[in-house]
């Protein structure tokens, strides 16, 4: 097997991976950096983020406000030392992107413009029209091209971490073009592999978001933290799940039930605010978990509009006018017309909550370090945790920048304190074993399970039992079913046994990642007998700080369900309180 020797290997070349790569290249031009991704960098899902990135920049705002919004928005499950670090670093990172050429939208005086976002008390979301993630990704990718030390391995699928002497020393990956396995021997590894929304049938997430980075660490013995917290974004197109950014509401769009009532006022987010004059942190600018839950409740009452794709609420942006919609929300207009046949300039757009983001992920500390020496993680695949039980919109783009860079700095510290070379023959044996597991898939002759069939059953299970509201009985059933699917996965058939760009193989491996992540979601959810943020239990309807002001950790087991234990939340200055999104707050 061909071996690539490098100082730092990065798995994933989206926002977090690219930010880490640039930070490494700038810190030390002598460092060898391998940037490995299953897709070309500009295909990474960061490109689909629309609304913007939060960072304090305007004089009426403060780091304390950003901190408080984030911690309260996360229902006090955030580690507050990490949130402090996030809000401090956020403006620097966003300005750094500006210095790299990011086309942020501007005020008439040439300073960067900010827009309101859900759950945020001040306007602090930097944006580039409604393609903010796209511009961040392309700015990072294009900037990365000037660093010769960043060696890219595009379309390489990582299969296993190589762990010897108690530290992570690299990974194996399949080159899609040839089907050949490559061994990356590295002194440190950063995982930046994105989320896992594809476990669910209805999601804003692109096809590539299958939890591979999470599964890579999880199988290597690193716990997944707070996996039960899955974010539903309130406004997806019912036909395709395509995201309509929260900026629709930030700019003044309102949500209506079938009677034309702004129903959020009936769910603790009132009183009603004047049309076209959005008030921060209330009504349509409430947090995503609350708005999605209000939809579910209102649907139960039969108050939703029925469409051929199921029940929907209406997102009314007509009062914004064509000029503002074209200037601030061009993609939203284009998507609504293309995929729903509705022009937001003339008609309200049907929308419904859609799986969007994993608050949970690979357990890291504030340095983006995992408990496994030499392994770091950043971006959606990681759980630092700054998002707690519910992420505020526009904190994730900021997070991937701040902690992408942090992971790079921590990796450098690791290199400096761990100069030892690895044991070549031991690592080689591990890589050979990884290759043998892939070969076994090709040689399997008694397989009877199809990848599409297993995937469908997994998605149905998640949709049915791990959605906006969950119950103990449902989660028990989901855990049972996922255990069964994991066993049946052992008999999955590989139809395509050729080498070049084998997407059948890719999908089999991706399904394996998703099944492992899904089981962590349902097992953590079953154990958490309370309702907090995005995890709402019909049988435990209140938050229980005495028992569950804690992070869940799910530990992998090959044949058994994951073991769940807990870890204290870091609380420095904000004691758990009431999340008040009524107009009454201050």
């Amino acid at each position: 097997m061909e071996t690539v020797r490098t100082d730092v290997a990065i798995v994933g070349a989206g926002g977090a991976g690219l930010r880490a790569a640039i930070a490494l290249a700038q810190a030390d031009p002598q460092l060898k950096i391998a940037l490995i991704s299953k897709v070309y960098p500009m295909r990474s899902h960061t490109c689909a983020a629309e609304g913007g990135a939060a960072g304090v920049i305007k004089p009426d705002d403060s780091l304390e406000h950003h901190f408080n919004d984030t911690v309260g928005g996360g229902d006090w499950l955030c580690d507050q030392d990490a949130v402090d670090y996030l809000v401090q670093e956020a403006p620097k990172e966003l300005i750094q992107l500006e210095h790299w050429g990011c086309p942020w939208s501007r005020e008439p005086d040439g300073s960067v413009a900010v827009r309101p976002f859900g759950g945020m008390k001040k306007q602090r979301t930097w944006f580039a029209a409604d393609k903010s993630g796209f511009h961040i990704l392309h700015t990072l990718f294009q900037t990365s091209l000037q660093f010769r030390s960043i060696e890219r391995y595009d379309e390489f699928y990582a299969t296993d971490l190589l762990i010897d002497e108690g530290r992570c020393q690299g990974l194996t990956a399949i080159e899609m073009r040839s089907g050949q396995m490559r061994r990356f021997q590295a002194r440190a590894v950063i995982i930046a592999g994105g989320g896992a929304g594809r476990m669910f049938p209805f999601t804003t997430n692109g096809a590539i978001k299958t939890g591979d980075g999470m599964a890579l660490a999880y199988r290597a013995g690193v716990p997944l933290k707070d996996m039960e917290f899955v974010q539903y974004h309130p406004t997806g197109l019912p036909s395709t799940g395509t995201l309509l950014t929260e900026a629709c509401r930030g700019e003044g769009g309102v949500l209506l039930n079938k009677d034309g009532r702004r129903f959020l006022q009936d769910y603790g987010m009132g009183p009603e605010t004047p049309i076209g004059k959005p008030v921060l942190k209330t009504m349509e600018l409430g947090p995503r978990d609350r708005v999605s839950q209000a939809f579910w409740q209102e649907q139960k009452k039969g108050k939703m509009v029925s469409t051929q794709w199921g029940d929907a609420m209406l997102l009314d942006m007509r009062h914004l006018g064509e000029k503002k919609i074209n200037e601030r929300l061009p993609l939203v207009r284009d998507m609504s017309i293309s995929y729903m046949g509705v022009d937001p300039v003339t008609d309200p757009v049907p929308v419904r909550p859609v799986v969007h983001y994993m608050m949970g992920g690979i357990h890291t500390d504030i340095r983006a370090a995992t408990p496994l020496a030499g392994l770091f993680a950043a971006g959606e695949c990681a759980c630092v945790s700054i998002n707690g039980a519910n992420r505020l919109g526009s904190n994730s783009l900021t997070e991937l920048l701040v902690f992408g860079r942090r992971a790079a700095l921590s990796a450098i510290e690791h290199l400096q304190t761990n100069p030892r070379a690895g044991n070549d023959s031991a690592i080689g044996a591990l890589a050979d074993a990884a290759q043998a597991r892939i070969r076994a898939l090709f040689q399997r002759s008694d397989g009877k399970e199809s990848v599409a069939g297993l995937r469908r059953e997994m998605m149905q299970t998640m949709e049915q039992h791990a959605g906006i509201y969950r119950s103990g009985a449902g989660l028990v059933e989901a855990c049972r079913k996922l255990g069964e699917l994991r066993r049946r996965y052992g008999a999955v058939v590989l139809t395509d046994k050729t080498n070049v760009y084998n997407t059948d193989l890719l999908q089999v491996l991706e399904l394996g990642s998703m099944l492992d992540c899904a089981e962590a979601v349902t097992a953590s959810g079953l154990a958490r007998e309370e309702s907090r943020g995005a995890h709402q239990r019909l049988d435990f309807t209140t938050r229980d700080d005495a028992k569950f002001l804690k992070h869940s950790l799910a530990w992998y087991s090959r044949a058994e369900p994951p073991r769940i234990d807990y870890r204290d939340v870091v609380i420095t200055k904000s004691q758990p309180g009431v999340r008040d999104y009524s107009g009454a707050h201050e």
Binding site: G101, K131, L145, Q308, Y339, G341, A452, Y501, T503
Partner: protein
């Protein structure tokens, strides 16, 4: 919900097992509102797991699913079945080598993109107080359109010159170079000029405008190419006819 039987004629090629590309017919029941990508996914899931193609976002922003649909370069995620009453022919993007089925080899584009230095080469050092460069909405507007390129390469598949002269740097890479040249914060035009004003650079373009017609993001690469030509011509005149004039 209305459904329709759709006939797809898809180019297949596996370098390990095929001497040359061939077409395969799939007849699939599709929903009326589907795009071509949905139909391909339906085939992959239910009919033929060996069919290979790239896709991800399903919202025309990741740029993965460019392919020839009835002979035209299109994003499969934004090409609606309802616009194609007959058999739909699906092929890999023209002018690129086929890696497998609908997957093309895009090394050429990736190399050219890097060559034009598509990153900010600052005109002035960043503000010393750590703040942002000032840029007015009008200055932003001068280049904003050229930032919208998703690197889908439909313009290369449409470009007659790229088909004839593979050395041509091509519409997307030149547009992105131009994007930085036009940015009020940038001072790197001279450095980029070596690549884009060379023979294989902008001068290969015969201005058929095909690139702009197929661009799913309305970047208008043809306009970028024309602006680069005009600026390069002005450079030439300045240099040769007015050697005393400053750039």
């Amino acid at each position: 919900m209305s459904e329709r039987q759709v006939e797809l004629e898809v180019l297949r090629y596996n370098p390990e097992t095929d001497q040359e590309p061939r077409f395969q017919r799939y007849s699939v029941t599709c929903r009326e509102e589907w795009v071509v990508l949905d139909a391909l996914n339906h085939v992959k899931e239910n009919v033929d797991p060996t069919l290979s193609y790239r896709w991800s976002c399903h919202m025309a922003v990741c740029g993965s699913c460019g392919m020839m649909i009835d002979g035209e370069p299109k994003l499969a995620c934004k090409t609606f079945l309802r616009d194609y009453p007959g058999v739909i022919r699906v092929e890999p993007l023209a002018h690129f080598p086929i890696e497998r089925d609908l997957v093309t080899v895009i090394d050429d584009f990736m190399a050219k993109l890097a060559r034009v230095k598509p990153y900010l080469i600052p005109k002035e050092p960043a503000p010393a107080d750590g703040s942002e460069y000032r840029q007015t909405p009008a200055e932003l507007k001068k280049f904003k359109q050229f930032t919208l390129c998703i690197n889908c390469m439909l313009c290369y598949a449409a470009c007659p010159e790229y088909g004839l002269i593979p050395q041509f740097i091509g519409p997307a890479a030149i547009s992105l170079a131009h994007r930085y040249n036009q940015d009020s914060r940038d001072g790197g035009r001279a450095e980029r000029q070596e690549e884009i004003a060379a023979t294989e650079g902008v001068w290969e373009c015969s201005f058929t405008g095909a690139c702009s017609e197929v661009c799913p993001e309305h970047v208008d690469p043809a306009a970028a190419l024309q602006q680069v030509k005009i600026k390069s011509t002005v450079d030439w005149y300045k240099k040769h006819l007015m050697p005393w004039a400053k750039e």
